[in-house]
């Protein structure tokens, strides 16, 4: 078996090599290199990820037989759905899409998603249903790497886009509080729960899966809205023809 330090190092190395802050779409996004329509496309597609998170978390909880574990995990569902209407992470994401001038009904319909977004995100539900509770939990280890990307994103997007204002970035500011708490709990489980090298590998593989899931979403965005190959039925920004070209 890997030692605790080796295991943590292996997980952090995966983040350093594969987290989606390394994707060229994210670099363009944070660096202020996209036009408004491309930022809209990102927000509209990422909305689907937001609404699937509680679906994934409740599917995972339904595999848990230990009330103590569910009692910790339920906080994530409450964070995303909110304790009352108009609260929670999903609602905060809609403040961003509103602020970007997207029609709320179009966003909520999820009709204009990229198929690549839908398939990648839906795979996350299937993943947690079909894997062990431990692997279902540790697939969320990407949250270890989220705070730095959130900070980068808040600063970069506020600085670089005149259509991004402080009050529509509330989602990311809130996640700066929530994600470290969630990530620490799961990291501790990842380091202490496995009782064999095979279980450790399951944890490592779950993080690789999730990094792939996030990366594939960036790939779909880049292909459609940077390279310009928008699939039939997907969102077409008004300023699509004026988008910046990088090839």
């Amino acid at each position: 078996m890997l030692s605790r330090d080796e295991m943590e190092a292996a997980l952090r190395k995966l983040g350093a090599e594969r987290y989606h802050n390394l994707h060229k779409f994210h670099k363009l996004l944070h660096g202020g290199k996209l036009n408004k329509g491309q930022v809209q496309a990102w927000a509209l597609n990422r909305y689907y990820y937001q609404i699937i998170i509680p679906v994934k978390d409740t599917a995972l909880m339904s595999n848990m037989r230990d009330p103590d574990l569910r009692r910790v995990w339920i906080q994530r569902v409450l964070d995303h759905d909110g304790s009352s209407a108009g609260e929670g992470g999903i609602e905060r994401w809609l403040k961003l899409t509103d602020g970007l001038g997207l029609d709320r009904e179009l966003v909520k319909s999820t009709d204009a998603l990229l198929p690549g977004t839908r398939f990648a995100v839906d795979s996350y539900i299937t993943y947690v249903k079909e894997h062990s509770v431990l692997e279902g939990m540790t697939s969320s280890l990407t949250e270890l790497f989220a705070p730095s990307i959130h900070r980068e994103r808040i600063a970069g997007m506020l600085e670089n886009y005149d259509f991004i204002h402080d009050d529509i970035m509330v989602y990311f500011k809130q996640r700066l509080n929530e994600a470290p708490r969630d990530a620490e709990h799961v990291l501790e489980l990842a380091l202490t729960w496995p009782k064999s090298r095979a279980e450790q590998q399951g944890v490592i593989d779950s993080l690789i899966y999730k990094l792939d899931c996030l990366w594939a979403q960036q790939d779909a965005l880049y292909n459609a809205y940077v390279d310009g190959h928008i699939p039939p039925g997907a969102f077409v920004p008004e300023d699509f023809d004026d988008r910046p070209r990088f090839n």
Copy 2:
């Protein structure tokens, strides 16, 4: 389609004809006709139903795409699991099994269950996974009929058994507060959500399913602990040979 009143009458009629308070095992239980070992067997088996409720509810929530719906439903999970360790309905059920002198580890292991209990209860998880969100929700309409059985049970068991005390009946007292709130919400959904006769029938069938699920648990108890056919591996009360005979 059935009118609102016809629909409500159809649902209440099912309860009046099929709810498990009509089962002869329940009548013996409430009427003080069982010995301690038979009451232990009931509490030990019913524990499995208690721990599966949040599993069923989170599986159901993972089929919900509407945060508003999840936000209402999550209260049930919090009720059963509690907001912190040592709270919640599962913990309150363990106070009952403790009070009845059952070994907590044996109860929590679920190793000594009747197979009939396990199959009936597990079917509830499968049911909500494989049916519509509406049917998954309305299968809990049995809660409409729960408060009267809880009141009957508290009074009857306190009066009739010298081994039952007020402080171990906390589960039922708490459910007197929770169940009516839950049942009213689901009844309203059952009466307003269906847009076709077929959807109404789905609701009716879901209640029939759930009534069967509860009835089957009573059948398993009666067969094993009254008629005396305990399956291999299941809990055998110390006073089993001294149990009262009714045939």
